[in-house]
């Protein structure tokens, strides 16, 4: 409407708040969680890193590599979106990595048999049971955090161990490859399974990219356009005040924990489908990058701050690093070092910028 409003000062704490007022393009972008100092910084970082890798290897900036990159980051980004909601609410879920692999192994055992379970089911039934189990895990996390009252750090740290132990027990620490399993699963079921994560869409786009897009849109709407997202932001921003104004804090935390477990498990199933086989404890290495993506994306671990778009950029930055380092032939160990350094650097820069603005 006028320059007065778009020039409104926006403190670091007020970012991504969706309330109100007619505004210019910039304010509108801010409201969409797209324009903020963090996102500008991230985009610049992504471009710089991209340019560097491009200067090293000319095949870096190709459509094929770009699509491969998006495919590779799909499960990480999806889990990061769900983790973002938990973090906005003021909690955290450390168990996502082991829940990711527990879901894949459970589905395999429930469907194919073997492992330590004496029964098995048709694919869709097995999938349904797995999803229910995932919801139960999220509920337990939420129950321990909100009803019993232990810090979510402890509750989900315990769940991390429980889930990874349960996975090893259920699958008897074995590998499962549905397409070469004996007995072979029915052809139709196998096709359904493969279609989840291994379908190629036109233009050679893997279906996981579509899943990523769908999750991004849904999480973005919930975060920026629903009563739930509005109240969740408040809940994490000031838990004490949330009690005073009677926000349904416990219910909301149940929802974010359940969503987080289900999404983490679903991402595990998608990767299982894409790869075609599952090995025990494959998700352990996800824990760090999931938190890194959320934090790089500008969320505050103390709650009440963070956007879905920022998280997506955080995930892209990490994927870019991994992809680029792999292309220039740096080993897996170097990748870990770089991912760690970039995470610390991103948060330091953010903190520094906040201090300068004051």
């Amino acid at each position: 409407m006028n320059s007065l409003e778009s020039s409104a000062p926006r403190g670091p704490g007020a970012d991504g708040d969706d309330a109100v007022t007619r505004e210019g393009v910039r304010t509108r972008l801010q409201r969409l969680g797209i324009a903020s100092l963090q996102t500008y910084g991230l985009v610049i970082a992504i471009l710089l890193i991209g340019a560097f890798f491009q200067s090293q290897r000319s095949e870096f900036f190709t459509l094929d590599n770009f699509v491969a990159l998006l495919r590779a980051m799909a499960s990480l980004a999806m889990i990061a979106f769900a983790q973002l909601f938990v973090i906005i609410s003021g909690e955290l879920d450390l168990s996502v990595g082991s829940v990711y692999s527990l879901a894949a192994s459970s589905l395999a055992v429930l469907w194919l048999g073997g492992g330590n379970l004496p029964f098995h089911f048709p694919f869709l039934v097995a999938l349904l049971i797995t999803l229910v189990m995932l919801a139960a895990i999220g509920s337990i996390n939420a129950f321990l955090t909100t009803v019993v009252g232990i810090p979510s750090f402890i509750a989900t740290l315990g769940m991390l161990s429980v889930a990874s132990g349960a996975e090893l027990w259920i699958g008897n620490a074995g590998n499962f490859t549905p397409a070469y399993n004996t007995p072979l699963p029915p052809r139709g079921e196998l096709a359904t399974f493969q279609s989840l994560g291994a379908t190629q869409l036109p233009l050679n786009i893997p279906i996981q990219v579509l899943w990523l897009l769908a999750f991004f849109i849904v999480f973005w709407i919930v975060r920026h356009r629903t009563l739930f997202g509005f109240r969740l932001l408040a809940l994490g921003g000031n838990p004490e005040a949330s009690r005073v104004v009677r926000l349904p804090g416990r219910r909301y935390k149940f929802i974010v924990f359940i969503v987080c477990s289900v999404v983490a498990g679903f991402a595990g199933i998608l990767d299982f489908s894409y790869v075609g086989s599952v090995a025990p404890n494959g998700g352990g290495s996800l824990t760090f990058p999931v938190f890194a993506a959320v934090v790089i994306g500008g969320a505050s671990l103390s709650g009440g701050r963070g956007t879905v778009f920022g998280t997506l950029l955080g995930a892209i930055l990490l994927a870019l690093l991994q992809n680029g380092l792999a292309l220039i032939g740096a080993g897996a160990f170097a990748q870990d070092v770089f991912v760690g350094v970039v995470t610390i650097a991103a948060v330091s820069v953010d903190r520094l910028a906040a201090r300068i603005r004051k």
């Binding site: 007020a14 309330a19 109100v20 009563l227 104004v245 009677r246």
Partner: protein, 501 residues
């Protein structure tokens, strides 16, 4: 080098504060305050909230710096660093280490050892014994009662040989017996030649235990009462005298004949025992003030009205049509703004946070940004919140405007009853008047408000009726309109509190 030798420590006999000034931004907390503290008797300090009392305490304790003015002890100028060493403060909520034992607490900061695990000396053990907490020496402070923790703070003061001991509302949460013991310890400090200062809202305690009582108002000592002039009524009068001009709103109390109950309680008893068997009602169009010092149960009583769990008994709440309704139609505002506002949301977000479907969202839970924006703008205008745009971050508003945002957000939900704790705490004079206006306008539409006040002028200015709570019991109910001025009201309340028990 840094610590004064024990043998050198002088027992001060007079401390003189002259011309102390201190301002925070535009607020003049201390405005040329003069005061003399002498040994031989406890000096009492009384003053309304915001009078500069707590700033004075912080400065004496060396926790804050002066803009100008001097502090001398026995004629010698004392620096801020030395003050921190010579003055010990015993707080309302003892500031000790809850994870250490009582004995260890005594040692922190003066361990007398570099590598060894420090242990208490015979002399220090005596201090604990004198205070009657020797048997608790090995208990973790966090698991001890408030009285024991407070005595630990006193023990620390004695052990480091502080010349001046300040007691800041020390017995507001103590039982009768514990209070008596506390005052005995205070007297023995006086007997040992220490300067003892008691800051309290409890006029009875000030009169009973102090030789002189200084009344602080607007950052200076307005009078020092002693001897036959020292009485509860006299202090009460001095506390409110600056408000003698306070005018009530001209509008009458809405006529008690048409009044119907909005909320009533019977046999209302706090689960923590802060008050018991309280019965009262508040009617449409009425503003009811509940007053009582900290620890009297008044604050807990007000809080419990908006809560499902804090008290037991019979509570009835009625809606516009006189039908019974739930506690969800009661909106509560706590004393500390930070506990009811969201610094990470915008002004508009804060204004609409108590709303839901259908006010700001569609049936499916999708936000209607348009409705939210329009509502926020309407609320900004209606409550005179000075913000350029609802999109402005909340922390960019002044304290008074933030308070208005909190009240506006509560009223936006159209409650039948508004429950407020100290609604104008830390708010400038202008905003105060606006907030009173908001409350009156709100109740004039046939609903009600209950406030917890610590200051009588506030109750006099805004309330229709006043309940005095003391030791968990409602002592009296007064019709505020029956009093010509706030001094008369203050004297009556002081008398009521004295006749108790």
């Amino acid at each position: 080098m840094s610590s004064v030798q024990r043998t050198e420590a002088v027992t001060a006999s007079t401390a003189r504060l002259s011309g102390l000034t201190r301002s925070f931004g535009e607020t003049q907390a201390l405005n040329g305050l003069d005061l003399e503290i002498s040994s031989g008797a406890v000096l009492g300090i009384a003053g309304p909230n915001g009078s500069g009392k707590s700033t004075l305490m912080r400065i004496l304790g060396g926790e804050d710096a002066l803009d100008s003015g001097t502090v001398t002890i026995n004629g010698e100028l004392v620096s801020r660093g030395l003050l921190a060493h010579m003055v010990a403060v015993v707080h309302q909520e003892p500031q000790i280490w809850p994870n250490l034992t009582i004995a260890q607490n005594l040692l922190v900061g003066r361990e007398h050892s570099r590598y060894r695990l420090p242990a208490i000396s015979a002399g220090e053990a005596m201090i604990l014994a004198d205070l009657g907490i020797a048997t608790e020496g090995d208990r973790e402070a966090g698991s001890c009662s408030l009285a024991v923790r407070q005595r630990t703070e006193i023990a620390r003061a004695i052990a480091r040989d502080a010349s001046i001991v300040l007691f800041d509302e020390p017995n507001s949460a103590l039982s009768e017996e514990e209070s008596v013991a506390l005052f005995r310890h205070m007297d023995s400090l006086v007997a040992r030649g220490r300067l003892v200062v008691l800051v309290s809202h409890r006029l009875g305690d000030l009169v009973a235990h102090c030789g002189r009582v200084a009344v602080v108002r607007n950052g200076r000592v307005v009078t020092v009462l002693s001897g036959s002039l020292l009485s509860e009524e006299a202090i009460a009068r001095e506390l409110v005298v600056g408000h003698a001009h306070v005018q009530r709103s001209t509008q009458a109390a809405g006529g008690s004949s048409h009044r119907r109950d909005i909320m009533s309680v019977e046999g209302w008893t706090h689960i923590g025992g802060a008050f018991r068997d309280v019965s009262f009602a508040v009617g449409s169009g009425e503003i009811l003030a509940i007053v009582g010092v900290e620890g009297s149960g008044a604050r807990e009583l007000v809080q419990s009205i908006a809560s499902d769990v804090k008290a037991r008994g019979r509570r009835s709440i009625f809606d516009e049509r006189g039908q019974a309704t739930s506690v969800r139609r009661v909106a509560y505002l706590c004393a500390d703004r930070r506990d009811m506002l969201f610094g990470n949301l915008s002004v508009g977000g804060n204004l609409t946070i108590r709303l839901g479907i259908p006010e700001i969202a569609f049936l499916g839970g999708l936000l209607s940004l348009r409705r939210q924006r329009a509502l926020a703008q309407k609320l900004l205008r209606r409550f005179g919140v000075r913000a350029r745009t609802p999109l402005q971050p909340l922390p960019s508003l002044s304290g008074g405007n933030q308070q208005k945002v909190a009240i506006a957000a509560a009223i936006a939900r159209e409650p039948m009853l508004l429950v407020l704790e100290e609604p104008t705490r830390g708010v400038d004079v202008g905003s105060k008047a606006e907030i009173y206006d908001i409350l009156r306008t709100f109740t004039s539409s046939g609903v009600a408000a209950i406030l917890y006040c610590t200051e009588l002028p506030e109750a006099f200015e805004v309330a229709d009726r006043l309940l005095v709570v003391d030791r968990g019991v409602v002592r009296t109910a007064l019709d505020v309109h029956a009093f010509a001025d706030v001094t008369a009201l203050a004297e009556t309340v002081a008398t009521t509190e004295r006749i108790r028990a």
